[in-house]
Amino acid sequence: MAGVTYRHVYKRYGDVTVITDLNMEIADKEFVVFVGPSGCGKSTSLRMLAGLEEVTEGEILIGDRVVNDVPPKDRDIAMVFQSYALYPHMSVYDNMAFGLKLRKTPKSEIDRRVKEAAESLGLTHLLDRKPKALSGGQRQRVAVGRAIVREPAVFLMDEPLSNLDAKLRVSARAEISQLHRRLGTTFIYVTHDQVEAMTMGDRIAVMSDGLLQQIDSPRNLYNYPGNVFVAGFIGSPAMNFFDATLVSEEGKLFVDTGDFRVHVPEDRQQPYNNYVGKEVIFGMRPENLHAPQFAPPGIDASPIEGIVEVVELLGHELHLYVNAGKNSMVATVDTRLQVNTGNQVQLVMDMHNMHLFDKKTELAIR
């Protein structure tokens, strides 16, 4: 059992810096998800921890030990690869036992651990099969099994579900969460899928352009995104952003986008006072836009209007693409709303869930 620490870690390929000053403390038994668009450095960060990539600068610690120069096999970690990387010429049993055999684990112990892992993953009847004869989901479980039998201090997973079909991915997601609870081991999980990140992680590290943007619990990440990137990345459909000016009238603050003017709730005005008269980025999630007649009670509603350009009914929710002049936005509204393309529509914004960002730094104004 061990935590993981990244200390001022850089990764460069020649002149290209792919990871810049990564600092992170991951506690023992924590489930941390690295998420971000492709090329953001999340996989590289994981691979440096695994020992598959060298650290250019800085230190990576597993427990209290700096592992920069420790070969992968001695780091007490196990990894599940995106392609599963099962040895094609070995049976399921041998795939899981390979690492233990190399470690000269006694035969009886290998047998016990492999059988146990197979039992827990429902692979017992497949132990004699070759990977070729398995389905995608079964292969994925074998890859997990191969990691489990090693009883590592840290589990690394690099997009382990992205080769599964959508339905299987949902159940596999739950299985991995259960596995984490059962094993009580540190898990580090890389994905580009924000749903996986939100549902599985104790904490989520959002990365972009080789920079750690924010690391926090799923709830905080959603409610208090630290910057425009995180705000736009977490949540689906993505948050609407408007270039706006903060104006003050009769002691009250308003956000003016040019198309519409909405008020700032009184209890949220305090940090914004310094920005009066300045340009800001105003953020509003689609799910915080409501049709007035179906708006939940008790929200601090501020009305806007626009022309409906696209209507998407998903069954449980209705997405409207609304044009309010020079700004467009997406609204997730109650499915009972009767509306067609081209209609003028009235919506209200729940101003308690407003977000404001500095125009220059793109950081949240708090």
Partner: protein, 387 residues
């Protein structure tokens, strides 16, 4: 032929099947026959023409290629105008039939004929006799040519040499090819190194033999040595050797010939192994490293099993090469000094000794020796979905 269209699966009547067979055979024979006839007419025409050579060449190409294409087009048109059932029955044979017919004519029939000749004495079956008369004639010797193949002194030596060729030739070609492929894969000079190793592949066996003749060239002691190997040896204070003719170390002088084929075939195996090694997913090797396997173990435990199919294919291909080896031996020693192989024996018996029965028997034995390797080789190809 079954038609699984709709509800009915009906077996055509016997008459229809016979008719279909006749149609197919007719197509298979008619197309090449007409093609050859047209080409022959064209040949006669061109032969007697006074036009410039370049014009004749161009006309010949257009005439030949265009004529055959036209023929296929016409027959395909005819078959397509038939009722649907007959189109599906006959159409494949418009295209495959001629190839099969020509293959039968040039390959299958000569093979059977060679076997037939191998049952007779040195002059082959006498002309003008019926089959029962032939079997009763003095020329018919049954399988005694085959008995001789396996007992005659030079033949036994040839078998031994061929086994040496197979064992050393294929093993070293595969081993060197594999080692170079692995090393080149990790080298900054991969392309250059691989090109150099692959280069000998472009040289014919005869050409390579002549190059190596210069390497092995022997002059009596005291004279200047123009052979590379002896020149080095003498300058280091040694005694010059007639390497390939060095009967004192027989049968190991064969190795000097085998080296030539290794030199030629290493490039071939290297290229195939190199492609196969690049096909191994990187994650698989990383998984091995995380599992704690040494680079040595990763090579033998993960990479080699992964390219097993290629390994066997390359190996069997080179085994077939070395089984049939002829040119190198013929150019270097002509089979003297204990270096005969099956193919050179076949040539010597058939064309030098004019013993057609014995020569044919050797050819058949060689064919039978190659067939199992060939089948295994094709099976491997099929498993790799190369066919």
């Amino acid at each position: 032929m079954n038609y699984v269209s709709g509800k009915e699966v009906k077996q055509p009547s016997l008459g229809v099947r016979i008719l279909a067979l006749i149609g197919r055979v007719a197509l298979a024979i008619a197309i090449p026959a007409i093609a050859f006839y047209i080409l022959y007419l064209g040949f006669l025409f061109l032969r007697d023409s006074d036009a410039p050579r370049i014009v004749i060449t161009l006309v010949a190409i257009v005439w030949g290629v265009g004529g055959v294409a036209l023929l296929y087009w016409i027959f395909n048109g005819i078959v397509e105008r038939m009722p649907d059932q007959w189109t599906t029955r006959l159409q494949p044979f418009v295209f495959v039939g001629p190839a099969m017919a020509i293959l039968a004519w040039y390959l299958a029939i000569p093979t059977l004929r060679t076997f037939w000749i191998s049952l007779f004495n040195r002059d082959g079956p006498p002309a003008g006799l019926t089959i029962p008369e032939l079997l009763a004639s003095d020329s018919f010797v049954g399988l005694s040519n085959y008995a001789a193949v396996f007992t005659e002194r030079v033949m036994v030596e040839a078998f031994r040499n061929n086994i040496m060729w197979i064992v050393f030739g294929s093993t070293f070609s595969v081993a060197f090819g594999l080692i170079i492929a692995v090393l080149a894969d990790r080298s900054a000079y991969e392309k250059l190194a691989k090109s150099l190793i692959f280069l000998p592949m472009a040289i014919s066996f005869v050409g390579a033999s002549i190059i190596w003749k210069f390497i092995y060239e022997f002059r009596p002691p005291g004279q200047p040595q123009i052979g590379l190997l002896n020149a080095i040896l003498v300058s280091a204070g040694g005694v010059p050797r007639a390497w390939t003719q060095w009967v004192d170390i027989a049968p190991w002088n064969n190795l000097f010939l085998i080296v030539i084929v290794i030199w030629l075939q290493t490039g071939f195996s290297m290229v195939l192994f190199s492609a196969a090694l690049k096909g191994i997913p990187e994650e698989l090797l990383e998984a091995g490293r995380m599992d704690g396997a040494s680079e040595f173990r990763i090579f033998f435990g993960i990479m080699l099993p992964y390219i097993r199919g290629t390994l066997i294919t390359v190996w069997t291909t080179i085994v077939i090469f070395t089984l049939k080896i002829f040119d190198v031996v013929w150019v270097m020693t002509g089979g003297q000094f204990g270096t005969h192989v099956i193919a050179t024996q076949f040539y010597r018996q058939s064309f030098t000794n004019r013993n057609s029965g014995f020569g044919s028997a050797i050819a058949i034995v060689l064919l039978i020796a190659v067939i199992p390797v060939m089948i295994y080789n094709l099976k491997q190809f099929r498993e790799q979905e190369a066919f």
